[in-house]
């Protein structure tokens, strides 16, 4: 197998491409030869320019797809655009999410509902739509980005961790339901990663967390993106229903 371009000929939808892990995924998927629908909430001229640049540089098609994950009408329109496209969807990466830190006793209801809405319900509904397409083609790989907080139940991360645990559980259940239709579904659980999400953490907490990793370093968005490429590719054809911790060993 020539794995220079391990995603050659595949088309992927990646949500949350504007920054952080999603932005790194967009680039890695392009490098490995995939066409990408790059989903963002708001389309800026800079982002459109970046999509064009990546398309040219790697001879793939990067199509910006602009919608608010919590807006049903907008999501429907985005799905219709994908359906009408000449490309078949082979891969869905639900990466978009928001973080929240607060002690359990101090978590307001609105924040709790927002976490569940954006981190769990929105990707759940989006996946329903896209898996419907994948079922027609009889193949596909769904990759949902959760968090080690979903497994480790960290203090101050009850709402965030629970929303990611819900996403992780749903993904594994999905893998059992669609495995025989050729669709795989796996979870990536990043540990501490160099993104905007850690701006809510103090330097002391970051240092302490990093010291607790076996590799003694913070993860980079591209570290996480590499694992997504692997799970999207046929190299992982017998792997489904799994949760991959990409956490430097915690």
């Amino acid at each position: 197998m020539n794995t220079k371009n391990i995603l050659d000929g595949k088309s992927a939808i990646i949500t949350g491409c504007a920054r952080g892990i999603g932005s790194a995924m967009l680039e890695k998927f392009a490098v490995h030869g995939a066409n990408v629908w790059a989903c963002v909430r708001k389309l800026t001229p800079e982002f459109a320019e970046r999509c064009n640049e990546l398309s040219d540089r790697y001879s793939v098609q990067i199509i910006p797809l602009c919608f608010d994950m919590t807006n049903k009408e907008e999501m429907k329109k985005a799905v219709q655009l994908v359906m009408k496209s000449e490309h078949k969807v082979n891969v869905l990466v639900n990466n978009a999410g928001i973080t929240y830190n607060a002690l359990y006793q101090l978590t307001p209801e609105a924040a709790l509902r927002e976490q569940m809405e954006i981190n769990f319900i929105a990707p759940f509904l989006f996946t329903q739509n896209i898996v419907k397409l994948m079922l027609r083609y009889g193949s596909g790989s769904v990759i949902n980005v959760a968090s080690t907080a979903a497994i480790d139940a960290n203090s101050g991360r009850s709402a965030y961790g629970a929303s990611k645990a819900a996403l992780s559980c749903a993904t594994r259940a999905l893998s059992r339901e669609v495995g025989m239709q050729g669709i795989r579904a796996n979870v990536i659980a990043p540990g501490i990663t160099e993104t905007d999400m850690i701006t809510s953490m103090t330097d002391a907490v970051i240092a302490e967390t990093v010291a607790g990793t076996d590799l003694r370093r913070i993860g980079s968005p591209s570290d996480i993106a590499d694992v997504a490429v692997y799970l999207a590719s046929d190299l992982s054809s017998y792997i489904t229903g799994q949760v991959f911790r990409v956490d430097g060993g915690m």
């Binding site: 495995g179 003694r216 694992v227 190299l235 017998y238 489904t240 229903g241 990409v246």
Partner: protein, 247 residues
């Protein structure tokens, strides 16, 4: 190519997952010390052909995992090449199935000798070299039976569980110095180990899977490839199930 210019030690190369790993690694540009239990002319020919086809070097190294002196000599052969070692893949292993009460101490000790003690010994030697380079990736081949238990595999499942514990601890100790340690836990794979499993038992396994078929050794080799490559550079201490999604 995901392993271009890397050098790897792979054990159990005569057949099954080890042989497929050897082939996959060479195709991905890696040079390999291909470790096997005994010298075999067909195997040597195979290595020469693979090496020519892929433009890599493949060096057969022979030792039996029940022979500590032979292991030491084998490792010495490898280290005397004085080349960097980027990956160590411990594939060699075996099983002799028996239910719990029918498992003899002799059998249990033999399986632990091959599947656990010898793996630790090889890894101690090779990672000592990796620590000097401050980089490396160790991949142990465990089994889902080491995680889930398996009827009739008391000795095998416990030896693999022990290897999983060792994998996690080695990660704690070695990863701070740049050496990642992970394991792959294959499910039901099309190797000799499953060649004599009755059809009805296999059907029972398939019913518990999302992807209801036997896995190919190539699919396990591809997971090993991922863990040996820089694509998994932030992963350590992990046990990757390659099992078609077993319940």
């Amino acid at each position: 190519m995901l392993l271009r210019g890397k050098n790897a030690v792979v054990t159990g190369c005569l057949k099954g997952i080890g042989k497929k790993t050897l082939e996959t690694f060479a195709e991905q540009g890696a040079n390999v010390w291909a470790c096997a239990q005994y010298a075999d002319t067909d195997f040597e020919k195979y290595c020469v052909n693979l090496s020519e086809r892929t433009g890599t070097w493949i060096k057969p190294v022979y030792f039996d995992l029940t022979d500590t002196d032979a292991i030491k000599a084998g490792v010495k052969t490898i280290s005397s090449d004085k080349l960097p070692i980027d990956a160590l893949v411990n594939v060699a292993g075996f099983t002799k199935d028996a239910i719990f009460h029918m498992t003899s101490m002799e059998q249990l000790k033999l399986i632990f000798e091959v599947n656990y003690f010898s793996q630790i010994l090889i890894t101690q030697y090779i990672t000592k070299l990796m620590l000097r380079q401050k980089k490396g990736s160790v991949i142990n081949i465990a089994s889902i039976s080491g995680l889930d238990g398996s009827h009739g595999q008391l000795a095998y499942s416990s030896s693999k569980a022990a290897l999983i514990g060792a994998t996690r601890t080695m990660s704690r100790e070695l990863a701070p110095h740049g050496v990642r340690v992970n394991a792959v836990a294959p499910g039901v794979i099309d190797t000799d180990m499953n060649a004599y499993v009755p059809e009805n038992v296999l059907a029972g396994h398939y019913n518990n899977m999302s992807i209801q078929r036997m896995g190919c050794s190539g699919e396990v080799a591809n997971a090993i490839l991922f863990l040996a490559s820089d694509m998994s550079c932030y992963m350590t201490g992990q046990i990757i199930r390659v099992d078609g999604g077993m319940k």
